[in-house]
Amino acid sequence: MDLRFSDEDRDFRARARQWLAANVPSTPRPAGGHSASQFDRDWQRKLYEHGWAGVAWPKEFGGMGLSGLQQVIWYEELSRAHAPAAHVSTTYVAQMHAGPTVIARGTEEQKAFHLPRILSGESLWCQGFSEPGAGSDLAALRTSGRIEGDHLVVNGAKMWTTDAMYADWMELLIRTDPDSQRHKGLTWLAFDMKSPGIDIKPIRTMLMDDHVNMVFFDEVRVPLSAVVGELGGGWSTAMATLSFERGLGFIADQLELFEKVGRAIELASELKDADGRPAIEDVEIARRLATIKAETMAIRAMTLADIAETDRTGIPGPKGSMMKLKVTATHKALSRLVSDILGWQFFEFDGNRNNNLWTHDFLWSWVFSIAGGSSEIQREITADRVLELPRSR
């Protein structure tokens, strides 16, 4: 066992820290709307122009080809510099999911068209996987595509589509074989959001925002050239990216949590309770803060252990689900605790995350433990793949 970073990794950290100190935007990311997605495009463009785009992407596709450990360093430095967070950006799906899928399964034409646009921030993507009847159970999806000549004609509805109104492209998973069941007969499309026949309806959430949407498809024509991977092989295409991510899908959240606890401790030292005492002098508050600090240390250790292993073997382990369970539970405990520290300030919320980030975070904690596979699904995956218990379904 060894905790030392190599000279190369330490040098990378120093360069990242120096560049970020000079280049992090001085204004905060707008809370939402087109100005937020424009902010994300501008920041992505800046990263691209200075050679910091595509940290996880292989060099041959324009990325930086960083090792897992160097990606950890990059996200730690982003968080430390209070740089725009990768996981709250409208570029997230393109960077972490759609791009890697095109790299893994796209044709040369698809790669040449999409990859540079994603890296430069020109293309924003959204994810069209979930449906009203297919959330955790994705393979139940029913949105259909029937072949007419060299086109697919798409009908149906997608749900929980984050930032659909700002996206240029959608990774769209549909059923192209009407007689197929479950994971068979699906197809993955690079779908142009300017296509006629789609209708985007925002879903108001308890966060008092409209970041998720329903997207309706009414006889929408998509050229067959938009199929990524095999026609009917969409499940395999959708899963291809998982091995690419190498368990790094939530890395930004994992490492940001470490930073957030430090800020919560500062906050508890500054804010006074109703009796005029600093919140941190309350024994219960202090112990809860320290408990969560220990959990975030464990999360960082788990992250480093898992990534160092994957860097060595090249094969991602089955521990991503365990990581998501721990990260979302710790995030929830932290935001609940900060709500106690904040006192009445906690209740002043107008839906703008920039006006009250902690209350926004508190509300977000349920999104985090449900989206991308709910905690219940993560426990199922852990029971199946890590513990190899008898199947429940």
């Binding site: 066992m1 905790l3 970073f5 220990a294 959990e295 464990a298 721990k326 029971a383 513990l387």
Partner: protein, 323 residues
Amino acid sequence: MYLAPEGEELEIATAAADFIADALPIARLHEGGGSDMGAELRASLGEMGWFALALDEDRGGSGLSAVEHALFFREVGRQCGPLDILVQALGVQCAQDLTLRAELVAGESGVALLMPDSDRHRLIGGTEARYGLFVTPQGAALHDLSVAKIEPRPALDPANSLAIVSGLGPAIATRDGAQIWQLGQVGTAAMLLGLAEAALDLIVEYAKVRETFGKPIGAWQAVRHTCADMAVSNEGARSQLWYAATALKEARGDASAHLDAAKHLANEAAQFATDSNIQLHGGIGVTDEHDAHLLMKHAALLARLFGSRNDLLARLLHAELED
């Protein structure tokens, strides 16, 4: 950067697992094997050099680090091994006198742990031990027990005997600094990790074979999901312990903070896993013949030592961490 046992570390872990499973299998506690090491086992552990694993070579030890120390005591924990194995290894670190150190390394005489309890001490481990070790984060002291009054008490945890000590004489050896405390933290955290892993293994195996309502209980989500939660907390405790032990080995400035976190997470993981293991076993889980209660009782004791919850959390709150 690598945070899992590798190379010679794995060899030591395997050797430790084989030796411990053979010399003190958990089954001994069902066979009237009694508590503590006992003189015979102590001599055989001493002969193998296990008490001197992390002792410097120029002091007569193997010169290995906190990492190997952790790997060994994880195996001791898995078999519900008595605390005095660890205390003997810590006593070895405290003994400055060559003759005394050689006597302890060889396991010729035993060391038990002294814990302050108002105006007297509790003694955990062999009542026939010749020495008592008192450890704080500031230093450690060995006392000769032959002059003290030792009153045996009944012990909840059958792995260790329990006594009250009064009239403790002056220390016969002392060592300043945090080193012995830190090795105690690594050792107890590792034993707790071993207990937590053993508890999860027991319930996972049982869940595959025990059937209710026509299917294995491991196919019911009420059981599966608790097992998954146990796996998550064990994974966190394990990763943090490897991190902390390696931080100690590399003499990092933040090692003590990582040790406090590791001990806290091991306390929590072991108590959660040993509790859940009994619950998910159902009725058989509360019987004396089952291992489940042995793991729970031992975890409850170890969670009090080398940093209980409140001490650990108080130190951790403002601790600074490095990259």
